[in-house]
Point group: C2
């Protein structure tokens, strides 16, 4: 093999390094940005659940109300940590990966320049070769062409040497960035998960300490109140009511019934919806946890 082909191999090897980095860093950037967006959507959905839990808490008796509010607050806290996770991923993982695109463009421009210089050397050598074949006796022209070819060769050497240094620095930076970016990713995730464990432990204790019996007593007392004065113990009172002696206005009965029907319609429109769960399973096989 000769020096020209060796240089060509060299430049192509460097080009492969940059192309490979561009390809995979581009993929990492795109996938991690998507991962971060999906994390943000998970946070949004959990925030909606927090809101519903709060609304629900306000419709319940004090005991359950307090428990549900505490639980909802813990769930909200996890989402705050998830929001911090999203912001940190954006700043310390996705942004550096994006910046990488600019660095790759610069190295690619250096490779292009080096190839131009190499091509010029090849042109000069072709010119020299043609001269040697067509006018082997024209010593002056051949000598000039030899000088041009030699100058081009010096240029190529310098340029290739510069490129080798550039690619060496590029590779070093690539390895350092790779380690730093993924270490940051792991740290961000680790911090989030650790905080989540902490908050959910507190949420678990909240749910554990909920006094269901007390809540149920509250409910029974409240319902007894609703049953009214005329029927103080409805759950144990089995005796038939006395025949009704007083007159009853038809109109008031009608209006009560109309109201009941309206209530019924409203509540039936609000039934538990069917949720397709098939897409939860994903395409993976062989999960082994």
């Amino acid at each position: 093999m000769n020096v020209l082909l060796s240089r060509d191999n060299q430049v192509r090897a460097m080009e492969n390094i940059v192309t490979n980095a561009e390809r995979y860093f581009g993929q990492f950037c795109s996938l991690l940005a998507s991962y971060t967006r999906k994390t943000a959507r998970l946070r949004d959905k959990a925030d909606q659940l927090v809101k519903q839990l709060m609304d629900f808490a306000n419709t319940e008796n004090p005991e359950l109300r307090a428990t549900m509010k505490d639980f909802a607050e813990d769930l909200a806290k996890v989402q705050d940590y998830r929001q911090a996770e999203v912001e940190r991923l954006e700043a310390k993982v996705i942004s550096p990966l994006k910046l990488y695109g600019a660095q790759i463009k610069q190295t690619r421009a250096d490779i292009k320049k080096c190839k131009r210089v190499q091509n010029n050397e090849i042109k000069q050598l072709e010119k020299l070769e043609k001269l040697r074949q067509k006018s082997p006796s024209d010593r002056q022209m051949i000598s000039q062409a030899e000088t041009s070819a030699q100058r081009a060769s010096v240029d190529t050497n310098r340029s290739t040497h510069h490129l080798a240094e550039t690619v060496d620095a590029f590779q070093e930076q690539k390895l350092k960035d790779l380690r730093r970016i993924f270490s940051d990713f792991v740290t961000i995730e680790m911090v989030f998960h650790a905080k989540a464990v902490e908050v959910y432990s507190s949420a678990f204790r909240t749910l554990e300490s909920y006094d269901l019996e007390r809540d149920l007593q509250d409910f029974r007392t409240k319902m007894r109140g609703v049953y009214g004065h005329s029927e103080a113990r409805p759950l144990t009172d089995n005796s038939p009511s006395p025949s009704v002696p007083w007159p009853l206005a038809s109109q008031s009965v009608q209006s009560t019934m109309a109201h009941q029907e309206k209530d019924e319609e409203e509540s039936e429109a609000d039934s538990v919806e069917e949720i397709p769960l098939e897409d939860l399973k994903g395409q993976q096989q062989g999960r082994h946890v």
Copy 2:
């Protein structure tokens, strides 16, 4: 107030309890199913990242290859735990919430039946009232109507009593289910996050122990090999190459250049894409972690 209105209030209070449960349990079911689906999508995205990390590892030197493979395996392990989280949420949170819909339908049917019985009592009383106004002297008709009204009243009493027991049981079950379902949710999440902390700690150690210098030496040795025999130390050799004495076939030069241009085109199409990050921030204000 009278007994009829008291009973009406009672049934409506029970109806409200069931409607409220239906509304919020429906919301919890729908939101938690969505939360689980989004978790599954996060897992899918991370699985894609694992695949790219593995592919990338195979293009790198042994030191980085080993590190990236270990890291990718840890990331895959987190996704296995996420898959377990998804399956457990489905089985222990979403399914019980869905089953709740059936229970609510049964209680709602009991309320409807009780209302029919109540309405019958009201009809009998209206009939009796009309008779008293139109034919106050028809003692036999009035007596029959009074018996019917009394029978209807006994039915209503029995039915309302049964309904009160049903709603009491419903409420007790609701509170128990609520505590169990959200305790299960918290436990499932807690286990997942704890496992994630464990695996990411190992991933962090993997990245920490990566020997960047050794990798860089490998790279330099490899590149020196590419520079070929004629130029053994390209990074330190600054002397110009000698003028080129051998003839060069134009065709082989052309084909080399054509190949270079093709490479360039392919790689430039592969540039780092721009990813919109605006939607990561969500609509929330006042995050404070």
